[in-house]
Structure formats: structure tokens, C-alpha cells
């Protein structure tokens, strides 16, 4: 903030217009509506253009924040997006879903005395502007290298690898197990937070650049890793995500009305069950819904339940609000819409009726004890504090694990003891020649931008390998 004139700090952050809570809780349209050009310029003008760029060090892929903000400030929206694209190929997504408060915005000096610059909002603005104006990445066309790369999984990690390597002139094919591309961006994160058109646009952009997408291909089953090499692929990137639902392992978990967040959100987003019966896949429209967990997945499930017409929705979390891993904005949005928080509460069993349908959930009150291995204070049950939450739908959103479908068909691929793939954090290399991995299947559930960062590193390493291989 060295040379910055004082008056700039006083300006409040330009807030983004949003749908009103009582209105939006009844629809699946996006909640924050986006900045107008005037708003974006005004917010961008709050930036102090700090020489040390602390904000950049908070961004896992090092977006040139002062640079693109400067462009927006002077109304040059086209150049702004080119600056972002240099390090981040999915800004329309990241601007919407990055946990900015602990990343870029968490380091912004404006945040010390007032509110940090709305970096996420500005990034989203630039990306949406580019999409509306049909601006595309102006990378120069390159000569084909004749090398073939297979990308397994079309989540943010895979999409990043595909984009980086097609730009280098390799032939890239993305194999996706589901019938739709995008990974969690398509099946997990709901429409009201990340419109599916945006994800489809990013994929279409890659297709235009020459990336081939093959859906309905479960690698390890429809084709094995070895067969990919037999088909002539020179390198393979595994970005299959952490698609294994975790349950609570408590009695009553197979009652009708208890389901994993993966199932609930897949029904809603991937299968568009919120538009049942126009779409054929049904989803239980619980009246009393309890969601177990405290992350983005939990807030997404809870807010979806409200939109599907539940009378009451609560989030049941075993620690306190401070420890909730969800983005701050998601918790605020959920509360505004009427989601109740049952903090320091842990379910111990599910209760059902004679037809095997859920009617309630017995919980215990918790207190916070000593910090555990994650550095957060460990929740300890209070004796005799049992109570029942009435509910006819429980969504379990307590994290996910490594899906073994691909890895068990590839016996010599090295895994860690939780079943995640072991890959070099700097290059994404696995123990197998020609095989890279990155994203949630290496780190466990993390974030979109970390998966993209891992994809970028792997793409660099694959590029080096293919060049050296000649």
C-alpha cells in the first residue's frame, strides 16, 4: 500500500446484486447476478496496485491480479481476460466458486482495515464479459506434434490438462465415465451457484480448439490403462476425482430417505431431477431435511433441498461455525434463505418406520476439546445429551474417498494407504512410465483451483516428457 492515496481505502466494496432470499429459495437460477461494467470499474478502482502483490501469492495458480484489475479499471475488458487466461483457463468457474476469503482476497491489503478487493467478482465479470462478447483465447495456432495424450476424467484437473496440451499441438482425447462432461462442476455444484451453461461453454471452447471428448467411457472397465497405450497414446493423465461417498457408519443408514450427497446432488444436477417430471429422474422432496456436514457440499445440498420445496432444512455439524469449511458466502446465503444450523451436534443413529422410511435422527450434543491432527479442536460428545431431530430426508455430506474402480484394474499403480494415487507434487508423475495424476484423486477432496493447479503442473511435465521423447 506504499504509495496509494488514502481516499481509495475509504470506498466500500461494491457489492454484487443478488436475487432476494425469499425469491431465490424458490428457484434454481443463479443467486449473485454479476457486476455491470460500471460496478466492475468502480470496484477495480479500489485496488492499490501493490508492488509486492500479496494477493497473487494467495492464488494457487498465481493469477496476475493487479494486472487484470488495472485493465478493468481502465475499461479494457478484453485485455483483462487475456491476462487471466494466461494462468487460469476457467475463470468464469473460479470467480464463482474459489474460497477467495482464504486465498487471493485473504491476502489483500485492503482487507486489513476494511474489506478486501472483490477479486472473485472481478474475475467473474471479466470471464462473463468475454463469453458474452464471444472473445476467445488468442493463443497462436501451433503445428501438430503427432503425439497423443489421453486425459481420464473431465473435471477441472482434466480440462486444464486438455487445454494446456492441445495448445502445444498434441492430439488430446478426454475420456469421461458419465454421460456429461465437467466432473463435479457438472454433477456436484448446483445450477444456482454455477450455471451448467458456463461449464458447457468451457468444454465447447476446448472442443473448438480440437480436444475430443468421449463420454460413457469408464477407464479401467470399458478400456484399461494398458489398452490406452496399446491404442497409441503416448501419455495418460488421471484426473478421476474423489468419487466415493462416505457414510456415517451408524445404524439405520439403509433406510429410505438417507442418501449420500453425491446421490442427492447427482439426481438434482446431472439428471436435472429438480425439473421432474419434465426430466424422468425423481428426487425425494423431503419436508423436513437434515444435511450432515459443514462444507460446500453440505450447503449445496441444504440449499437445493429448500429449492425443491422442503418446509424445514437444517445443517447438522459436529464442530462450531468457525470450523465450517464451506465458503463464507455459501454459509451466509444458506442462512439468509432460511437454512438452520445445528452446530456442535453429531448424529448417532437414524430412526425409521415399519416401511423402512426415515422419520428422525438421534443426535448428541458436542463440546470442543483439544486440537486434533487437523489442527481443529476435536468435538467431544456430551454424555446424556441425546435428542431427536425429526426428518424425512437426510443427506450425508461428510466427505468422500478414493473410488477404486480405475485403480483396482491397474494393479501396479502406486496408491497411498487411503487409496489415493501417489503422484509427485511438483510434476504429477506417478510410479508408472507415461502416467500422470492430479486433482482430488491425489489430494483427496480439495478445491477447483487446486485441481486446476495440479493439472497445469502435470501438463508442463507431460510436455517436457513428450518433447524429450522426440
Amino acid at each position: 500500500m506504499e504509495t496509494a492515496p488514502k481516499h481509495r481505502e475509504k470506498k466500500p466494496r461494491v457489492s454484487m446484486p443478488e436475487q432476494e432470499p425469499d425469491q431465490r429459495a424458490g428457484n434454481f437460477q443463479e443467486v449473485p447476478l454479476g457486476y455491470t461494467a460500471e460496478m466492475a470499474v468502480e470496484e477495480a478502482s479500489r485496488c492499490l496496485q501493490c508492488k509486492k502483490e500479496p494477493c497473487v501469492s494467495g492464488c494457487p495458480v498465481g493469477v496476475d491480479i493487479p494486472g487484470f484489475v488495472r485493465c478493468i479499471r481502465s475499461g479494457e475488458f478484453g485485455p483483462a481476460i487475456q491476462k487471466i487466461w494466461a494462468t487460469n483457463s476457467l475463470p468464469a468457474v473460479c470467480g464463482r466458486v474459489c474460497p477467495q476469503e482464504i486465498q487471493c482476497e485473504g491476502r489483500c491489503v485492503l482487507g486489513k482495515k476494511g474489506e478486501p478487493l472483490a477479486i472473485g467478482h472481478l474475475e467473474r465479470f471479466a470471464a462473463d464479459f468475454a463469453r458474452d462478447a464471444c472473445i476467445s483465447c488468442d493463443a497462436a495456432p501451433v503445428r501438430s506434434t503427432g503425439k497423443k495424450v489421453a486425459v481420464v476424467g473431465s473435471g477441472p484437473a482434466g480440462l486444464t490438462v486438455a487445454g494446456d496440451l492441445i495448445a502445444k499441438g498434441h492430439q488430446v482425447t478426454v475420456f469421461e465415465a458419465l454421460h456429461k462432461t465437467g466432473g463435479v462442476l457438472a454433477y456436484g455444484i448446483p445450477e444456482f451457484r454455477l450455471p451448467k451453461d458456463i461449464v458447457a461453454h468451457e468444454v465447447a471452447q476446448l472442443e473448438r480448439m480440437g480436444v475430443r471428448f468421449e463420454c460413457n467411457m469408464v477407464i479401467g472397465v470399458t478400456l484399461t490403462l494398458d489398452e490406452l497405450f496399446e491404442e497409441g497414446y503416448d501419455a495418460v493423465f488421471l484426473g478421476v476425482g474423489a468419487g466415493l461417498p462416505r457414510f456415517m457408519d451408524i445404524p439405520g443408514e439403509t433406510l429410505i430417505g438417507v442418501m449420500s450427497a453425491n446421490e442427492y446432488l447427482s439426481r438434482a444436477n446431472l439428471m436435472k431431477a429438480y425439473r421432474f417430471p419434465e426430466y424422468d429422474t425423481p428426487i425425494p422432496r423431503g419436508r423436513n431435511v437434515a444435511v450432515i456436514g459443514g462444507g460446500n457440499v453440505a450447503t449445496d445440498a441444504a440449499r437445493s433441498a429448500l429449492r425443491l420445496g422442503a418446509d424445514r432444512v437444517s445443517i447438522v455439524y459436529r464442530r462450531s461455525r468457525q470450523e465450517m469449511p464451506a465458503r463464507a458466502e455459501e454459509i451466509r446465503h444458506a442462512e439468509e434463505e432460511g437454512v438452520e444450523l445445528h452446530l456442535l451436534t453429531n448424529p448417532v443413529r437414524f430412526l425409521g418406520d415399519d416401511d423402512g422410511r426415515l422419520v428422525g435422527m438421534e443426535c448428541l450434543k458436542m463440546t470442543l476439546g483439544e486440537p486434533d491432527s487437523s489442527g481443529r479442536r476435536r468435538p467431544v460428545p456430551e454424555e446424556g445429551s441425546e435428542f431427536v431431530i425429526e426428518c424425512d430426508l437426510v443427506v450425508v455430506a461428510v466427505g468422500s474417498g478414493a473410488n477404486p474402480l480405475l485403480t483396482r484394474s491397474t494393479g501396479d499403480l502406486k496408491l497411498n494407504r487411503w487409496g489415493y494415487i501417489e503422484a509427485d507434487p511438483e510434476t504429477g508423475k506417478t510410479n508408472l512410465e507415461g502416467v500422470w495424476a492430479g486433482g482430488d484423486i491425489v489430494t483427496g477432496s480439495a478445491t477447483v483451483i487446486l485441481a486446476m493447479g495440479a493439472g497445469r503442473k502435470a501438463a508442463d511435465s507431460i510436455q517436457k516428457y513428450l518433447t524429450e521423447k522426440g
Binding site: 465415465a177 458419465l178 454421460h179 463420454c215 460413457n216 467411457m217 469408464v218 472397465v221 470399458t222 478400456l223 468419487g243 466415493l244 461417498p245 457414510f247 443408514e253 439403509t254 429410505i256 442418501m259 449420500s260 453425491n262 446421490e263 447427482s266 439426481r267 439428471m271 436435472k272 421432474f276 417430471p277 419434465e278 426430466y279 424422468d280 429422474t281 425423481p282 425425494p284 416401511d355 423402512g356 473410488n403 477404486p404 474402480l405
Partner: protein, 291 residues
């Protein structure tokens, strides 16, 4: 897109056979495995077992009963039409071994699922006694095919309109009086599989059943297909669909299959209404096209 090469109606149109071009799946398919099909953009993902597959021609065959919204949508697809999505082969293949004498029991459309398994067992040199049954004669499928690969084929219908009168379990009881098979494979409605498992339990005859819980992805991602087997929770799509019948909690499975009963009814009502709506929507278009 996955094109329907051949379509055949069975059991008076209540059961349909589709042979579908899916070369990559055909190459990998093994008895006991299934695929998930989706007809169009708005369709559900529906699991169906492969009743046959032909790696040389690159086709797979499914045989399904028309029971609800999605299967009746499927039944409207004609030869030359396509499924938008087909994925597989999913699930673990049947462990086919030479065991000696095997009794293969199929009820209703379960016979379609049973057929490649029974054939595989026969090819390995087992003595195959097959029992197939249906409510009435018209609903009986694959009788000739089953006869061709069985050492003995016993047929029954509930009312006795064809074959012996009674349930497949009645015929199994007769067989068990004379034989002690090394393996029983039972595939059909859940109550049938439960009844067979109860009959073989006392004499401790290994019994395989194929479970059909509601599924979405079929890759172990959603957990919707979970079943209790031997007191443990298993995912039928990746750990099954075949399990030891003596270990399966059939009551729970039956309950879980009812999870969407209300929605299924609503969906079917919509189906019949939408046929009308489609007609109304079509007409003005035809008129304007004619102009």
C-alpha cells in the same frame, strides 16, 4: 449414439429385446455384467443386464420388461433408432467355474439375465438343470434358448397354462429331493430369489442371486445401490450385482425398491398425458411446415 440393430417383442409386447451396436462394450462384456442406458436428454439412467453379446459384430443384447416410464420410453425406440448413452460393462462378472451339477433358476425377465450365465456354466462342462417360470405361458421367454444349453429344462406357470403348475420353488423342491447340486443360481423377482435362498440354506447349497437395486451412475460414486450382505453394506454396482443369497437382506432390498413409488406413478401418468400433449404440439408445426 448407440443404434438399435434389432428389436423383437416377446411375451405379447410386455418384454422387449434390443440388440444394440456398442463395439467397445461388446468386446469386454462377460456373463453377469450389465450396462446403463439413457434414451435421450431428459431420460433416466436405467441398468439392464446383457442377455448376450457379440464381440465380432460389436453388439450387445438387452431384454427388458416394460414396467414404468423409462422402460416404456425404451419400448418406443424402433430398429434404426438410437440410445443417446450406453455405458459398461458394469459390475463384476459371474465367477464361472466347473463345479459339477448346477441348478439355474429364472423367473420372469430374470431368465434373460440367467441365460448367458447358464450357457457359460454349460460350456465349462457343468451339468445344468434349468428351471424357468412365468405367470402365464405368454410371458415365458427364451424357452428354446434355455433348452438348448441345459441338460434338463423344467418349466412352470403360476396357473398351469403351460408346463407344470406352480412356482419355480416347487420345481426346485422336487429337484432337491433327488439331487444335491453344487451350485444354485437364482435370478428373478426379489421374493423369488429370497424363497430360493431360504430353501437352499438348510442344506447349505451355495446360492447366487443377482440384485437389482435402484442405481444412478453404476460406478460406485453415489451409493444409491447399497444393499446389506452379511451385515455389511455393499454397493451392488461395483461389488455385485451377484451376491451369496444366504447373506442378502432381501427385506431391506424390497423396501428400498419402493423408495420412489409415488414419483413412479406420477411419471407414468405424465407419460400418458404427454402423448396427448405431443400430439397437440405437433399439429400446428405440421400445419406451418405445410405452408
Amino acid at each position: 449414439m448407440f443404434k438399435i440393430i434389432k428389436r423383437q417383442e416377446m411375451a405379447g409386447g410386455t418384454i422387449i429385446l434390443n440388440e444394440i451396436a456398442a463395439p467397445r462394450i461388446a468386446r469386454k462384456a462377460r456373463p453377469g455384467q450389465f450396462v446403463i442406458l439413457k434414451a435421450n436428454e431428459t431420460g433416466e439412467r436405467i441398468p439392464l443386464t446383457m442377455a448376450d453379446f457379440n464381440p465380432r459384430q460389436g453388439t450387445i443384447t438387452v431384454i427388458y420388461a416394460v414396467v414404468g416410464r423409462s422402460t416404456s420410453l425404451f419400448s418406443q425406440l424402433q430398429e434404426g433408432d438410437s440410445y443417446q448413452d450406453v455405458v459398461g460393462p458394469l459390475g463384476r462378472p459371474t465367477r464361472l467355474e466347473r463345479m459339477g451339477t448346477v441348478v439355474c433358476i429364472g423367473g420372469g425377465t430374470g431368465v434373460a439375465v440367467l441365460y448367458p450365465i447358464a450357457r457359460g456354466l454349460k460350456l465349462l462342462g457343468n451339468r445344468v438343470i434349468s428351471i424357468i417360470g412365468a405367470r402365464e405361458k405368454e410371458l415365458l421367454i427364451l424357452e428354446d434358448e434355455m433348452r438348448a444349453i441345459s441338460d434338463d429344462l423344467l418349466v412352470c406357470t403360476d396357473g398351469g397354462s403351460y408346463g407344470q403348475q406352480g412356482l419355480v420353488t416347487d420345481l426346485l423342491a422336487q429337484v432337491l429331493q433327488e439331487e444335491r447340486p453344487d451350485l444354485v443360481v437364482a435370478i428373478g423377482p426379489v421374493p423369488m430369489m429370497r424363497a430360493v435362498s431360504e430353501m437352499t440354506r438348510p442344506c447349505n447349497i451355495k446360492t447366487l442371486v443377482s440384485l437389482n437395486p435402484i442405481m444412478i451412475d453404476g460406478t460406485g460414486m453415489c451409493g444409491g445401490c447399497r444393499v446389506s450382505v452379511g451385515g455389511e453394506i455393499r454397493f451392488a454396482c461395483v461389488d455385485g450385482p451377484e451376491f451369496d443369497g444366504h447373506q442378502v437382506d432381501f427385506d431391506e432390498l424390497m423396501q428400498r425398491l419402493q423408495a420412489y413409488r409415488a414419483e413412479e406413478r406420477q411419471s407414468l401418468e405424465c407419460e400418458s398425458q404427454s402423448l396427448e400433449i405431443h400430439r397437440c404440439k405437433m399439429e400446428p408445426q405440421i400445419v406451418s411446415a405445410a405452408r
